[in-house]
Symmetry: C2
Subunit: 151 residues, 2 copies
DNA sequence: GACAGGTTGTTGTATATACAAATACATGGG
DNA sequence: CCCATGTATTTGTATATACAACAACCTGTC
């Protein structure tokens, strides 16, 4: 039926575009979590960074970016805001270029306070997306292989 | 195993967070399309709006926003840029508050020139996400029901 | 040990995004 | 007709995001 790879039409794009759907669901899902976290003035984007740093202990920007498929400049600005809030702190390393950082006590506290709200949003998201999509996302991420497609 | 709804830990968030996955893949997938469209100085975000307008003929901002689950203020800025590029034009309506617009000839031309690049990106995205993704995502979107969850 | 080339981050610029507040218009009740 | 209330959009502000250009630093080679 729909054009596979031969001259798709505008209608085909409208009907099939994966980016459009992905982006739309991203907006909806992000809003779900951001709403739940709003009382903490925390957004899910920042929470995800806090989680990554928590897991890594001390992390260099480049490492986080590779894990999250985030541009380094994006992370730079995000970290800037989170340092300003007192959630992250830089720790000197041997390589003077690197700016490795870790959670502060404040950062960990915020992260822990965020979990109940996260859980509520996660439930709603699971219900909305269904098991299939959740698995799909996990599978695709596995297939990315650190820095594959995007790099 | 992993905590269902009782006191999830930071590790649980790291392992399971749907928003994190969705946002990560959104970045990767968006980059796929944006790369393919770069020669046209077009981004997939704008292309999706052009497609929606093309399908609707003449569209009011609020309608598009409902379809795409986009905030009206977001659309307002996007449309502003696309009007400046000569891709969209406003058409007066009976309600003086409304700003219904449609594609210009230029807009349609750009959209059509974008399709081959789109098709290549779509192929890569399909490969990355697996067959049937579009349908899975579509299912979730169907479940949204115009303005449901987000509204 | 100096220089070339690579790596790590930050900064400039532009778009995408949303919330809140302001604006402009419409509409129904007196 | 006028006002109160509601609806459609824009504007102010802040974050998220990426690309390009730059700055700072490391490393291997001669």
């Amino acid at each position: 039926m729909s054009a596979k790879k031969m001259n798709p039409s505008i209608d085909d794009v409208a009907r099939e575009c994966i980016a459009a759907r992905m982006r739309m669901l991203n907006r909806v899902v992000t809003a779900l979590y951001d709403d739940a976290l709003r009382p903490l003035s925390l957004k899910v984007s920042q929470m995800n960074i806090l989680v990554a740093v928590a897991k890594m202990g001390t992390a260099r920007p480049a490492e986080i970016c590779q894990r999250l498929h985030l541009d380094v400049s994006t992370l730079s600005r995000n970290v800037e805001r989170m340092k300003a809030r007192g959630w992250l702190e830089v720790v000197a390393g041997d390589d003077a270029r690197a700016q490795p950082f870790r959670l502060t006590a404040e950062g960990r506290k915020v992260l822990e306070k965020a979990i109940p709200g996260w859980a509520k949003a996660q439930e709603k998201a699971t219900e909305l997306l269904g098991r299939g999509v959740a698995e799909l996302l996990g599978g695709a991420i596995g297939r990315l292989g650190q820095g594959g497609v995007t790099k």
